[in-house]
Point group: C2
Chain length 384, copies 2
């Protein structure tokens, strides 16, 4: 399927989610799909060979990060992002709309674009929607994201309204700036925690027309209930024949909830970030490898897991590596956590395919129930 | 060859070195051999699968480190060190004689053993030669090292004399303490920078009789000339039918010099430590990946190198990973550096086999000559 233009095939809809295939110039992706995050052109602690082995089909990188470091010209001269980072599968690049707001200093949103200082070296930059498309075209992303205006949380209705308006205006400019065929461009729906604004934003973005639609500006601190209410409002409006992407989420439970409301694509730093704090995902909840109880535990993280880590190493060894701050710890943990996420997606796709999503979800929740080992805060959120 | 008892076959002697095979219960090792260092039960940033791929035949671990953390009982319950760390090839464990002196606090050498405080938690420990053999037997090392008394540098002749005497006494006790068949025990020759003491120590250790002989207490700050003078004094006395191991050395140039004086085994942290500081070994000298000149360099570290890193990634990407402090940097660099070291050993063995060692050494020196990129201090030592 390499070399094909972007397209989306919806194979099955209903029965607790959507089963589909995304076709890109660098290969196909089975949806619902999880995208590991490699913001700077590397999924933390993992080589491309590891990603293949854990079952990654599509990666997320970040145009904002790569623009600042190493710079687009370095990647371009290196043969584009795929060749530069040695990953030959599909890549989605985030525009950095969210990162510019959350990471950079002295950020000012103007109607023409965003002025900000690099969080690396304080250098001054101005990015327009057109420039962000051009950057992603030069990176060679299979899927590009428009520059959106992500309001912070909490945002007043007025602020959220302005963000929706600017997001629509920029989306129009982004669509107009597309200079190459083959690379897909996704629009992003904003609207904060206001249903009416979410609906308005969805309609405006759909009217412009994109290869896929993302739901942005969620999971910024609002109640989980509100997150999913907003996501539901948007997915119920989005066209059935395009992929839907819920940005920056989430826990295994979040993903299952997203799938059930018709989301096709997910990304989150959780599996790789938790790897670096010793929090390991399993069918039975999270396991905190630092815990003294694993001191002499010769079992793998999950005896039923087929990942490289579980096939070769005990909890006792992983605990030792982590406490000794051996670099191998972060990698073995990341291999396991991503393998868990991708296995979850496979199981979800199988349940969708077989029409057994309700049973799957019940079994999932009852297994993951209560062994989360200090990994949740008071609100039930996974902390790592 | 798995499951065999320890033995050494000298295949060829003379013509610029010794060609041999070490047979151990966990497989065979072609000598001259380089042993990557995995003090805490992990070669920094590498998994066992990487070690196999770069050509590692035998690993060095450290009994002192593993005794302190995670503790011998943890490793024993984990099925021994091989199973615990997932490495099925031969393992040599260093006794920790050097580390106790160099790393622990409040260290006191008594005739019965060494009293010291853990460099991790300040806990008080007393290790005797017998206990150190027992530890290594429980770890299941293929090759164990006696507890020696490594005098610091500079040491007066009197101090060095006392260290030699204690080293011989402890070596005798160590040999007497050996309780299991199958695991080899190597003696260690001390004597500081005093030729006469080196000779005396060699004779005393040989008289006790060991499966192999190590030269310890060198490369502690003395002039390189002196290092090799001492090594030469010792190797000229050691029995031909046993392997000789020059501890803790060194640079590619050191290894070549050691081979030429009849050394069979080497270990050094240099390739893995330099990996973490961005210093990469090549046939043409060291390459400092941080250097701005590699910013847009699309070539691999060494176009003729066959390692995973060189087959897949450019200098520009490796520089980016390093500057972005991506964990993958340390691994890709370590893969390359160890591949370089093992390739060097293969080339050396081939030259020995073909009787072309002189030509090999000349070509080696002329290639590596002068492109070391700030990686050497005033004395010409590699700094990383």
């Amino acid at each position: 399927m390499k070399g094909e233009r972007f397209s989306f095939q919806l194979l099955k809809d209903g029965g607790g989610g959507r089963l589909g295939t995304i076709i890109t110039p660098h290969g196909t992706v089975s949806t619902p799909a999880f995208m590991p995050v490699g913001s700077q052109g590397s999924v933390k602690a993992l080589a491309p060979a590891d990603l293949q082995e854990v079952g990654t089909e599509i990666l997320l990188c970040n145009a904002y990060h790569l623009y600042l470091r190493p710079g687009i010209e370095v990647v371009r001269q290196g043969g584009g992002l795929h060749r530069f980072m040695g990953w030959q599968g599909p890549i989605l690049t985030d525009s950095g709309g969210f990162q510019i707001v959350s990471m950079s200093a002295l950020q000012e949103v103007e109607p023409e674009g965003v002025r900000f200082r690099s969080h690396f070296d304080g250098s001054l930059h101005f990015l327009t929607p057109e420039k962000v498309v051009q950057i992603q075209e030069e990176l060679g992303a299979d899927i590009m994201m428009v520059l959106d205006n992500c309001s912070s949380y909490p945002a007043s209705r007025n602020e959220a309204e302005r963000a929706v308006a600017l997001t629509a205006q920029w989306a129009r400019q982004s669509q107009g700036a597309k200079g190459r065929d083959g690379q897909a461009l996704f629009g992003i729906v904003q609207g904060g925690v206001y249903s009416e604004l979410r609906k308005q934003s969805a309609h405006e973005i759909m009217e412009i027309g994109f290869d896929g639609y993302a739901i942005g500006g969620l999971s910024l601190g609002e109640e989980k209930e509100v997150t999913f209410e907003m996501a539901q409002v948007v997915t119920s409006l989005l066209p059935k024949d395009s992929p839907r992407y819920l940005m920056g989420m989430g826990t295994p439970e979040d993903i299952l909830a997203g799938v059930r409301m018709g989301v096709d694509m997910f990304d989150c730093v959780l599996p790789t970030r938790c790897a670096r704090t010793g929090l390991l995902f399993t069918r039975f909840g999270q396991l905190n490898i630092k815990h003294a109880r694993y001191n002499k535990d010769t079992a793998p993280i999950d005896p039923a897991c087929g990942c490289y880590t579980c096939r070769n190493f005990s909890r006792a060894y992983l605990r030792h590596l982590f406490l000794a701050r051996e670099l191998l710890a972060y990698r073995l943990n990341a291999v396991h956590n991503l393998f868990y996420y991708h296995s979850l997606m496979r199981d979800i796709r199988q349940a969708l395919s077989e029409g057994t999503m309700d049973q799957f979800a019940r079994a999932f929740v009852s297994q993951r129930g209560d062994t989360t080992e200090n990994s949740r805060d008071e609100g039930g959120e996974i902390v790592c």
